[in-house]
Symmetry: C3
Subunit: 205 residues, 3 copies
């Protein structure tokens, strides 16, 4: 009888203490787990033009510099970004009226002009795309921004996982030898998705 009563008292006391203590303990534990976990990001890089090569490489190298674990899955047109020679990457102002066309040299007033060259002209002037590409490359050089090969090297050196999409390699008829040897593995979406699940941030670029 005495023991039973004691039991009930203890039980009650436990519940009361739990209600008091648990919220804070859980919060502490969650904060602790979060603090001890290395932040992580996965990127699905799907575009293969010079301008759209920047976002995956800039975000990856920045995250790696912050100490994050980063994995980039190069798939679809994005596979172009893994080629040994990136000189073929081009930028097209065609179909992209959001692209500012400015002169990257000359006095400030001249550089601040916005050259609105209509698509009509762009598409019938041979070499317009090549001109736009070189214009962008010059702008980037002038502004002290790393070129795309440098940025990719930075990613490799800072430990970004470069992963190729084998299905796209097959689809476009590439050979593994077309790509930089730093590509860690060639896998499919079924291997990549679980990595995205565990990441804090996942972006489709």
């Amino acid at each position: 009888m005495e023991l039973q009563q004691n039991d009930r008292l203890i039980d009650e006391l436990i519940r009361r203490r739990l209600d008091e203590i648990l919220p804070q303990k859980i919060e502490e534990k969650l904060a602790e787990l979060k603090a001890s976990k290395t932040p992580s990001m996965t990127i699905i890089a799907t575009k293969g033009t010079l301008d759209w090569a920047y976002p995956p490489f800039i975000l990856s190298s920045t995250a790696a510099a912050l100490g994050w674990d980063v994995s980039v899955f190069f798939t679809f047109y994005g596979l172009q970004l893994l080629r040994k020679d990136l000189a073929g990457l081009k930028v097209s102002p065609l179909g992209n009226p959001g692209m500012p066309m400015k002169m990257p040299f000359g006095p400030e007033w001249f550089r601040s002009l916005n050259w609105n060259i209509p698509n009509a002209v762009q598409s019938i002037v041979p070499g317009f795309e090549t001109m736009a590409t070189s214009l962008m490359k010059q702008t980037i050089r002038n502004k002290g921004v790393a070129d795309i090969t440098e940025l990719r090297n930075l990613c490799v050196e800072s430990g970004v996982n470069m992963i190729g999409c084998q299905m796209t390699v097959d689809l476009f008829g590439f050979a593994h030898d077309d790509f930089i040897p730093e590509v860690k593995e060639y896998v499919g979406a079924a291997t990549f998705l679980p990595m995205a699940r565990d990441a804090d941030v996942s972006l489709f670029i």
Copy 2:
């Protein structure tokens, strides 16, 4: 008096035990909850071309095959991917210099050529877009990759939630009858965002 002292002793013991046990229990519970939770992905599909139809359908069907819960919100140009007849989907190499143009037939050396056809030529040759579209379709057939209607069927069969954006339906003047009957519901972003919040992975394609 004795009981009071006993109470204090018990209380102390409870606090000590809680301090000892709680952190590990919480961690175990969190791991258990994660392991028992079905992984989930939400996709916002916004593009309406043949090439960009692949990423949402490939990622969705792959995730569904892995046992994930998947919901795709077709909005903006992405609504085109829900049309009953997908034969109208086209791919445009215009404004996309990242698109590899390769011949999907013939000997290996011929197929590995990269046809760099300038936009200037592309845009004034009538039917160039149709040719590029058929070229892509042939490449996909040759490589054993499912065509887009097959992939969409696969998504439907494996339980991917197909959701249409009602605002876009109104904006572009579509009728629900234009779309496959498997569309589960037509809602707005206000309904979709809470689904994205609960998902492990959310992608804007």
Copy 3:
């Protein structure tokens, strides 16, 4: 001796009760914590055309209306969306065969026609892009959808954090004065990524 034995009994009781009570309590508390946390979203807005201006502003204003914390990082071509005057935003059907070209006025049968104007024609007809832009603006007005300046105001008024990418400002030669004064700060990816890490949903648009 008796007391020691009592202690052991009490200790055992405490451990048993904890094992019984803890899992459910922890689960309840975690659900409670989640319910009490304000949902959050971060968006990386990278496109600078009239059509692609809609997704970041529609998703942001909708999330803010639901009470979410929202931060948008305007970078790359997306910086155009922060300009004081948005009248220059254009839409290009070039290179986007997924864009439905419909007449936003006239009888239903006329509006439901799909104008398939080949790129070949588009690119050599001067002013085609301007025509497409005005067509889209009319469609949006006709359908009662807010125009882009109204949507942006809505975002600002509902507390969406507008953040500019300083690197892009430098790269494209913009001045802070080109942008609306509601831009909260100009930072780099290193400042934005930790915000994305803490958000429930992160999208690259």
